[in-house]
Each structure stands twice: as structure tokens, then as C-alpha cells.
Symmetry: C2
Subunit: 335 residues, 2 copies
DNA sequence: GTGAAAGCGCTAACAC
DNA sequence: GTGTTAGCGCTTTCAC
């Protein structure tokens, strides 16, 4: 930078002002500086800026993994939007390990970012109370978070309620839930969606046969396939399947085809996520649309706002807790 | 850090040495320092370290997007492996824009990272020659790269050759290629796989009807569906389909089902990517396994090696250009 | 509108 | 084994 300053015959300060587009530099001087910059091919040292001003130009995304579509799409959306603000996304993958989650949200790590989008699976809200969030942070996901931070989540219960209600209202009475959970102490995607499933049954006065609640190893086609195979082997009769993710539903559809059950004739099936593949499966899969795009927008909006007034009004706006509404996308696999 | 030094009654230098696990500190002093660190809840300022020592603890991943499975999985693998080395992944999404690709690989930006994994779609090798890669970089993807950098790529031509050869050897003579390209000037996934397709035909002396080479808007189920619909409408007969990605193959299978063509009886179908869904489609989709896991390993290995001897032997090892071999994963959609 | 001085928090190099 | 000195490249502050 001093080289540029010498070349343009100004001080380093003026170069800094020009580069950062600050006002109060004459057009003449600005032009000279810019000429010098491009002549010398000068590039800012971002580490120095970071050290001095605290601005890092990075937003952290702290998630369990990226191999599912969900977080990958979120990352893509965030990165795309951040580019427009001249920032970039730093990815922290915790692998859903409690230890790494805690490490990732430690004050020192968060200081690396001007803002953070955080999805925790293991860490408790209590663990977080202690942390001072001087870094603007937006939490996503189903786990409870401290009251003091922004939180955006999808409507797991509501979506599951809609899906199950639809199956019940179209005549199914014995609806299996693939990936369901009976443990109501924890609060995760599985238990929340199971709660919606039970609520729908309660509304219509239909009793849930616990033999229809099937745990799953992983929310993959394979997991869905195995769960449905177990269900068949158990001998428990069923005439509908609510699969907690579309990926697992793929395996369910395949397993049903393998045993000659027709969809939706013998069994109707509904998934959750409304992925791009649903419309091209055989049969086309009905699914719950969780509004991921709205969710990403909301997260970004919140984050930008917090980052904008960082240091301005002390905790200006109150923290928001948003639930993005879900809706049904009905196709051939349901009646 | 000075606070810690004062608390432990040592110099800042010693604190630095302890924190960075450098040898030459007595066990006694080390203990005192660590006690002071935890007492004061001290966390290193990484920006300062970065400025002073150049170490950033970050590896950059520069890719077009993350919404396809391919780069998302790569990101996941990289992040997972980097964690073990106490580093993290910074994501740069270029959106396949030439301008942003150039910006991302500029010297200033790359200096943010201790290493980089780079996939460029638009930028030419010539543009890159100028860049001094003081940052260890591994390039991936099909575009040509300067001779001076490491390059890892999948065997697009070989995989397509295997797939097409299999269709031909099992009796297909009129094989449509969905997502094919006739433009041989550029060098991208589509043209390379088309080249393999043509090679297989040449080997067996079968002529390619250009009406069977179908461009595609996007490598999605929708794109595949539309392409196959166009093919049907064109009236060009076909008895096999090589779809350049599994995602598009999903749409192809659906389109074939819609018009009552049986797979593999009337038409056999093969995809490319060997995704997790292939084994659960109806019919189960044969596909080309591109060896993405081997590829990720190779990339990581190369990167670690380059980063390890950064500054050591001047450009110690010669640059490597690796082609990961592909193989067939045959299932129900082929004979 | 522009510049000079000071210092962000750490570590390389060397002295003891 | 431990301390001292200097400085990484920028920006904040204040003077002109």
C-alpha cells in the first residue's frame, strides 16, 4: 500500500480511503490512486484489515454436514447472496459432534466472522447461554436456542400434520411413519414430525398403532427400504406411509414395488422436503413443501440486518423467532 | 495474550510457544501458562496470527455451485478431512461466471488460504498462466489447466466409453445421448462424455445418427424429461439411452414410463454418477461410477503434501495430473 | 481534502 | 528455557 501511495504521490491513508470508497477524496486524487493501484497490480492484505478493523468479509455457516441436499442448498443460497455484498462464506462442518459444535460456536471462532448461520444438533440451549454473541448469529433448526438470538425454523409439526391429515382424509386408517420417533424428550426433526403425525390422528379420533412407528438408521433411500421391509416382516397391516424425508421415500416406493403393492391403490405414500426428484419418480411422489427458499431468505434478511447495525443501536431490534409455514405438494402417490 | 503472560508471570513469547505446542518450554511453565489461559478464558486472535505468520487455517474451495450433489459431497469430504488437521474450509461460489472465477483465483484472494481446491468452468488456461500460485492449489474438473499446477479429474471419456460400449454389446444399435454436445471446440463434461460415446460407436463400427444427440437445458430430472420428450416427438427411433447424469436419467425413466416404453425391454438406459438413488429407482438404474471418493482422497492427499512443504523445497515435487478411473455399476435398466 | 502518528495482537529472529 | 525487539499492513484518530 505504501508503494501505491508513493506511486500516486499521496499518503497511505488516502489510498485506503480511495480503496474503501470513502467520501472526501477529490476526483483527481482518486484517479491517480486508482491508476497506481492497477499499475502495480496492488491487492489489499485482508488479514491486516481484519486485524485492524475487525472486518473479515466472511460469514460463517456452521452445520452438521453437507452431503444431504438441505444444507448444501442453504450454503449455495447464502454464498450466492453474500457475493452481492462482497463477502464470502466460511464453512464449518461439525459432523453433529457435540464437542465440535461447542468449539465452532466458541467466542474465538465466531470472531472470525462478521456474522454466522448456525445449526446445532447436539448442543443444548443451556450451553449457549454463557456465550456472548457479539457476532451477529442466526440459528436454524429445531433444537431450542437461547431467547437472546434470532431463530428461524421450518414448521415440522405443521407439515407432518398436513401430510397425515391428508392421508387420513383420503381413507387411510393405518398409516406407517418411516423415521418416526417415540421419544418425546428430545426435540429434533424426527420427534417433531412424529408429533404432527400423532396430532392429526388425535384430531380425527384415530388411534395410532405403535407397530406403525418405525425408526430408521439414516434418512436415505436405503434406510427407507429397510424400514419398509421390516414393517412387512412384522406383519402389521398398513394402508398409508408417511415418510419423513423424500430420500427415504424413494426406498419406500421401491420396497412397495418389490412386494407388488400398488401406490396409491393399496398404499398411499407421502414424503417431506418436496425435492426436485419427486415429480419424476414412479409414481410421482406427494410431499410436504417446507419452504426452504423462504427460510433461506428470512435467514439472510435477519443476518444482513444484524450485521448492518453491528455496534450501532445496542441490540437494537428484539430477537425474532420465525416459523416458516409448510404446505402440501400433492402428486400421484396419494389419492 | 499479554494479560495471560502477566498472569502466568512469563513473556508473551512463552505464551505463544505454549499455545502453539512448540517444544522448548518446561513442563512447569507450560502448566502455569495453560492455567492462566483457562482462568482468563483467553482465545487467540487469529487475524493477528494471520497477519504476522501468514497462516490462516483455511483452505479455499472454489466451485461453480453447491446445489448439485457433486460439489456438495466434495465440500463435505474436504471439510471433514481438514477438521482433523485443525483447519477449516472457506467456500467460494463462482456461479460459473468468468468474472467471478477470475476474481476468486486472483493472488490476493488466494492468499487468504493456505491451500485451495479449484474448479473453473469458464476461465481459460491462458488466463491462469499469469497467476503466480504461491498458494498451493489443486485443480479439479475437465477444463485444461496450466502445466504448472496439480490437476485431478474424473475419466469422462473412459466412463462414457464403458457405458456406451455396454449398451452396444447388449444389442442396442440406436443409442440416444441425453445432454450430448456436438461442439468439439470446448472441453467440458458434456463434450468429453460425448466423445466417449462416439469412440464406442467407432470401435464397433456403428454409425451415430446425429438425431440421437440431444442437448439439454440443465442436468436435472426436468431437463432429462424434456429431452426425451423432444426425441419422441422428432420421430427418430431409438433402443438405448445414455444419459449424462443420473439426475437427468430420473427424468428419462419417467418419460419412458409415461409413453409406455419398457426398460430395459424396449429401451435400455444407463446414467452417470452412480448416485445413492440409483439402486432404488424403478427400474434400478445402471450407471457409471466415476470414483468420486477416490478423487476426493487424491485431491486431499495432493493438497496436504503441497501445504506440508510450503516454503520447503522450492516446488519440490513435479506437478501431477491424475485421471481417476471410472467403472460400470450395472443394474436393472440395462440388459 | 489530505497526512502523520500510533497501534491492532501476534510471532520471527535473535540475545541471554 | 525464556525474554527482548521489531514489525506484519492496514485503519483510527486527530491535526492541518
Amino acid at each position: 500500500m505504501i508503494d501505491v501511495a508513493r506511486e500516486a504521490d499521496v499518503s497511505a491513508m488516502t489510498v485506503s480511503n480511495v480503496i474503501n470508497g470513502r467520501p472526501g477524496v477529490s476526483a483527481d486524487t482518486r484517479a491517480r490512486v486508482l491508476a497506481a493501484v492497477s499499475k502495480l497490480g496492488y491487492q489489499m492484505n485482508l488479514a491486516a484489515r481484519h486485524l485492524r478493523s475487525g472486518r473479515t468479509g466472511a460469514v460463517g455457516l456452521i452445520v452438521p454436514d453437507l452431503d444431504g441436499m438441505y444444507y448444501a442448498q442453504l450454503a449455495d443460497r447464502l454464498a450466492r447472496s453474500l457475493e452481492r455484498h462482497g463477502q464470502h462464506l466460511a464453512l464449518v462442518r461439525t459432523g453433529a459432534s457435540r464437542e465440535r459444535e461447542l468449539e465452532a460456536v466458541s467466542v474465538g471462532r465466531l470472531r472470525m466472522y462478521e456474522g454466522a448461520v448456525i445449526s446445532l444438533l447436539q448442543v443444548e440451549a443451556a450451553d449457549l447461554e454463557r456465550l456472548s454473541f457479539d457476532t451477529p448469529a442466526v440459528f436454524i433448526g429445531e433444537r431450542p436456542v437461547p431467547e437472546t438470538v434470532d431463530h428461524v425454523m421450518m414448521d415440522n409439526v405443521g407439515g407432518a400434520l398436513l401430510a397425515t391429515r391428508h392421508l387420513l382424509s383420503t381413507g387411510s386408517r393405518r398409516i406407517a411413519i418411516i423415521g418416526g420417533s417415540d421419544d418425546d424428550r428430545v426435540r429434533d426433526m424426527s420427534t417433531l414430525r412424529t408429533r404432527g403425525y400423532r396430532q392429526a390422528h388425535a384430531e380425527l379420533g384415530v388411534e395410532v398403532d405403535e407397530g406403525l412407528v418405525l425408526r430408521i438408521d439414516s434418512f436415505t433411500p436405503k434406510g427407507g427400504y429397510q424400514a419398509l421391509t421390516r414393517l412387512r416382516e412384522s406383519g402389521v397391516p398398513f394402508d398409508g406411509v408417511f415418510t419423513l424425508t423424500d430420500a427415504a421415500a424413494l426406498g419406500v416406493l421401491r420396497a412397495l414395488a418389490d412386494v407388488g403393492l400398488r401406490v396409491p391403490g393399496d398404499v398411499q405414500v407421502i414424503g417431506f422436503d418436496n425435492g426436485t426428484e419427486t415429480d419424476f419418480l414412479t409414481p410421482r411422489l406427494s410431499s410436504v413443501e417446507p419452504g426452504n427458499d423462504v427460510m433461506a431468505e428470512t435467514v439472510l434478511d435477519l443476518l444482513q440486518r444484524r450485521m448492518g447495525l453491528a455496534g450501532a443501536g445496542e441490540d437494537g431490534e428484539p430477537r425474532t423467532h420465525t416459523m416458516v409455514p409448510a404446505r402440501l405438494a400433492l402428486r400421484e402417490s396419494t389419492r
